[in-house]
Amino acid sequence: MTASDTHRAIDAVWRIESARIIAGLARMVHDIGLAEELAQDALVAALEQWPESGVPDNPGAWLMAIAKRRAVDRIRRQQRLEQKLEEIGHGLETEDPAPEFDAVLDAVDDEPIEDDILRLVFTACHPILSPQARAALTLRMLGGLTTEEIARAFLVSEATVAQRIVRAKRTLSEAGVPFEVPEGAERAGRLASVLEVIYLIFNEGYAATAGTEWMRLDLCQEALRLGRILAELAPEESEVHGLVALMEIQASRSRARTGPSGEPVQLLDQNRALWDRLLIRRGVEALLRAEKLGVPPGPYVLQAAIAICHAQAVTAEETDWARICALYEVLARVAPSPVVELNRAVALAMAYGPERGLELVDTLVSEPSLKDYHLLPSVRGDLLTRLGRLDEAREEFERAASLTRNAPERDLLLERAAACASG
């Protein structure tokens, strides 16, 4: 094995093991920032030693052993310092603290590492941090990504990400955020914070047009992987399965979302043969797991159910719009928002005719949060066209065109406006 082969092998081991190592250490030192530093120390040791000695038989255990030793050194140093201070104060000798560390080490070996990983997820996604900071910390600690990789994925500088991570660690440490899985009333809110971060990471990758920026697609993969991990760690949470289902279904359309010259292709115009059947199947399975829990569906479960309605229609014409309407209705109650209402209006129009859709869209026209949202006039223009009110439709398409920042979309909207004018 050459040195660079070894480096790549170390890199692979790190990606597989780092979350477990950081999580295990965090339970010892009660500080995820310090745990990550200790894990990094172990990685440095591997980079120094493995090119000479070769990759050990059980590389994960090797890294963990080194990191634990560093942790114990660190705690001993700290204790000696405190002891010294105490001796100065009282002039007393204290007992050898060693047995206590061994007890700590044994405890680390006893408890299942999965519990620690779940604690790590909740701590890294603590709502005390901004969503951007949570995302960076999560990718670093649970995804094993380097600062450089995170920076490339989020299209920001490495220094920005590094600073975000340092600040986030400090914030958690100063606030004394405990390394634990929240229970009781706190849990739901904290879980929402975790899911928000995973979906943010996914959308950061998904919003970019596919094909050219491979790193962004990787971000979708990272989010999916985090979601799949979480689904195994917290199988009793229906919204986790809902989010996984939603991401699996959305990811299944990656290949169909852009045309040959990179232009976006709308859902109903996509070539369904390009949808990834494996991911659709996984999405359906994830939703079934959520439904089996028998709790009222949350926003992710409902969005996933809607996505699956589309996935199960062999052609766009066969879409079960009545069911989609019903799901949007529940979603609008569970998580009301003008954007959900707009989507519901589209579904209503598809299921029961353009009048029904327009009725709802007209109630949204005065909605301040949709003032600059190009899809509102675009949807309204479409419904007016279908009702033969072409003059009004043209105005809406022109308005939509002036609001969108996406050039191919603008062209399309202006084309539709022109078509209205020529009758």
């Binding site: 692979a12 990606r15 597989i16 596919a210 992987r225 799949r228 991990i229 195994e232 990834d276």
Partner: protein, 117 residues
């Protein structure tokens, strides 16, 4: 990146898997699902049917085949960030199985450009 890890010969004809090995394998598979890596896995019937198409003539031959390495006996479809990660997981698999042979091939997905394009 998606990889298909296939076992073409696990010497199971000579050494049928024992309970300890099965338990270790179950644990390994569980760990792969828990780390979000495993997409699908399965075992294959060694009595494969071979189809050859040549000059417009299609020949169908039913197995079993004498050479163990001629057919795939098991597979795992995994998703990892790098090829090295797939190799590392494969090494762990073979540490459990013992002697045998297999192949790892990348499965192209969206965002992967197949070589030569």
């Amino acid at each position: 990146m998606r990889f298909l890890m296939m076992t073409t010969d696990d010497r199971s004809a000579d050494n049928p898997p024992d309970e300890a090995m099965m338990a270790q394998m179950a644990e390994f598979i569980e760990e792969m699902s828990k780390s979000g890596v495993l997409l699908a896995t399965g075992g294959l019937d060694p009595r494969a049917t071979r189809i050859t198409s040549s000059g417009g003539k299609i020949t169908v031959t039913d197995g079993p085949y004498t050479e163990a390495k001629e057919v795939v006996v098991g597979f795992a479809l995994i998703e990892t960030r790098t090829k090295e990660e797939a190799i590392e997981l494969s090494k762990r698999f073979w540490k459990i199985v013992g002697d045998g042979e297999g192949v790892i091939q990348q499965v192209f997905g969206p965002g992967d450009v197949p070589p030569g394009q």
